[in-house]
């Protein structure tokens, strides 16, 4: 139960947000190591070991349009890990010691 298995952080993204959700996943895959995406049809779970960073600029590159970090609220149905920082440039989710 309390094994030394790798702890992941991540988020569940609503697939009805279409291109925004796709751009978020592409940006997360680009800026983080070891990203895993699981498809639950109405939402996608995207996770990374220990820490995940979402950068506004990378999301914009994949979206091909301006992106406001507040839009993450519309797509993120759930998350796991501590939210370390969330401002107009980036969102960081991580476990401190897991």
């Amino acid at each position: 139960m309390m094994s030394e298995k790798q702890a992941y952080v991540g988020m569940d993204l609503d697939t009805s947000m279409g291109s925004i959700t796709n751009a978020l996943i592409a940006a997360i895959e680009e800026d983080n190591e070891g990203v895993i995406v699981e498809d639950f049809a109405v939402y996608k779970k995207v996770k990374a070991p220990g820490k995940m960073v979402v950068n506004r600029e990378t999301v914009e590159e994949h979206l091909g349009a301006d992106f406001d970090m507040d839009q993450v609220h519309l797509a993120m149905s759930s998350c796991f890990g501590f939210i370390k920082d969330w401002d107009e440039e980036q969102l960081i989710i991580q476990w401190d010691e897991a």
């Binding site: 139960m1 639950f40 759930s78």
Partner: protein, 499 residues
């Protein structure tokens, strides 16, 4: 004038929501703050990680509502109800419809109570937002109930179905327990046990089941609601850390609450195991897989590893819930199938593809299959006379098997004030024994029924009390509801090859 960044804006718009009263004693203004033994040194340094200011909050929430209502209206305009894979799905959704919105409404009151009684700026602002969120959820769910009531029976009397059904007691006991606790305990109950550990399973895997069977309206309810829960989870996790960091004497108090509320949340959500494993004719995920992902991986292997540095261990009955995952949905389906003449939704005869899926996903299902097969000859073959004895804590029938020895019941007994009280499991017994004076006060519709409180003809009295009729209970495939759904499909020219 330069535009403020997210951090500066949050500080500018939330500061001074707290002040020290000059003319009144702090302890009189906040009479509950020291009652639970929690020690606070400098909680003002604590911040809400979402840093959401009110104008930003309103804008985001209105966009979320717009997305939900668009999906809901399109579904209704296109006869979505008739196009789902199998109408038995809606019997399961009825359990959601009659139980979840009263729970959300209670959560809104609890959040207002917490914000009123904990004088910490960031907690006040986050609980204020959350109180409004919970009202938004209740409203969306009432709209969903109204939408369903146009096509589906059993949903024509919202005041009665929100409080008079015996199933309502399960949810009500959870929220009433939190509302009558101190503000810090209530915060752990709602933000940790309810939000962080279990709402995911309710609103995501179950929404995924909705998507798979074609109920896009319900899937949209789940996702819009859960999108607020991520903010609530962040509040719960930060508040938990803050209390643990403020003073080490808080640690054993918090551990006690985590032990209690983990189990309370787990039992309240037991019905979800059945909704995920049984009611969808097409199942994208099992309870077992959902539990492993959302509880074992994200909570036990994530959050709790992180909390070890404070001396926090896994909730006391975590191991029992892991053992039960192989049996949970089958146990709940079997228990509720026994009382299908009194439930506010219908049970159903399993189809061959159901037996196959359950057998493939759950090696232990084969122990349950012969009992459920008895429904093939007579849909009431398994019903018990009367009503079940319920657990004094979780209010579910105390008929759970011991997962270490599944042929024995797990029922536990406690003595208090010369009476014997029954609980369904060691987890609920632990909760009872901590505060027996609290759990001996519940009023239960079935007891009222047995004691004659509902009149000379108790069954008629119970239906009158619950606002339902006997035609709205029983078995789905043999019901008038199923016949009406097939007729609706024929009218629309949809295929009927499944039946």
């Amino acid at each position: 004038m330069t535009k403020l960044g997210a951090k500066e804006k949050y500080h500018a718009m939330t500061r001074d929501l707290m002040w020290e009263p000059k003319h009144f004693d702090m302890k009189k203004v906040y009479p509950l703050i020291e009652k639970e033994g929690i020690i606070l040194k400098d909680p003002s340094r604590w911040e809400d990680p979402f840093r959401m200011a009110y104008n930003q909050y309103v804008k985001i929430q209105s966009e979320k509502d717009g997305i939900y209502h668009a999906v809901s209206n399109a579904f209704e305009a296109n006869d979505g109800h008739a196009k789902v894979v199998d109408s038995r799905w809606y019997e399961g959704v009825k359990i959601f419809a009659v139980n979840v919105q009263p729970g959300e409404y209670s959560a809104h009151r609890i959040m207002a109570y917490i914000g009123r009684n904990i004088p910490i700026e960031a907690i006040r602002f986050a609980t204020f937002n959350q109180a409004i969120d919970e009202l938004r959820h209740a409203q969306i769910e009432i709209k969903h109930y109204a939408h369903m009531s146009k096509q589906i029976d059993g949903l024509h009397n919202i005041p009665a179905t929100s409080q008079n059904l015996w199933l309502n007691t399960v949810v009500k006991s959870f929220f009433d327990d939190a509302m009558t606790a101190g503000p810090f305990e209530a915060l752990i109950a709602i933000s940790f046990a309810f939000e962080y550990v279990f709402t995911n399973i309710l609103f995501l895997p179950f929404a995924s089941s909705a998507g798979a069977v074609g109920d896009d309206n319900f899937a949209a309810v789940g996702k819009t609601v859960q999108s607020d829960e991520s903010r609530h989870m962040a509040l719960g996790m930060s508040a938990l850390k803050m209390l643990l960091e403020e003073d080490e004497r808080n640690v054993p108090i918090i551990q006690g609450w985590l032990d209690k509320w983990y189990w309370r949340g787990y039992r309240m959500f037991s019905v979800i195991s059945m909704l995920v494993d049984y009611y969808p004719r097409i199942r994208p995920i099992s309870w077992k897989k959902a539990f492993e992902t959302y509880v074992e991986e994200q909570v036990f292997n994530g959050l709790f590893k992180d909390l070890r540095k404070y001396g926090i261990t896994l909730p006391k009955f975590a191991g029992d819930s892991i053992k039960e995952k192989e049996y949970y949905s089958h146990t709940v389906f079997r228990i509720l199938d026994q009382y299908k003449m009194a439930n506010p939704y219908r049970s159903f005869k399993l189809q061959e593809d159901d037996y196959e899926w359950l057998h493939n996903e759950y090696p232990k299902f084969d122990q349950f299959a012969p009992i459920l097969r008895r429904n093939e000859e007579d849909v009431f073959a398994n019903t018990s006379p009367g009503l079940p004895a319920v657990c004094s804590v979780c209010q579910l029938p105390a008929e759970f098997p011991n997962p270490d020895s599944p042929l024995e019941l797990w029922t536990q007994y406690s003595e208090y004030n010369g009476h014997t009280y029954m609980t369904c499991s060691p987890g609920c017994k632990h909760v009872f024994d901590r505060e027996p004076e609290k759990y001996t006060q519940s009023w239960w519709p079935a007891e009222a029924y047995l004691s004659g409180e509902l009149g000379e003809d108790p069954i008629a009295g119970m239906f009158k009390y619950s606002g339902l009729s006997p035609e709205e209970t029983g078995e789905h495939y043999t019901s008038r509801e199923h016949a009406r759904w097939l007729e609706h499909r024929r009218h629309l020219g949809l295929d009927k090859k499944l039946f």
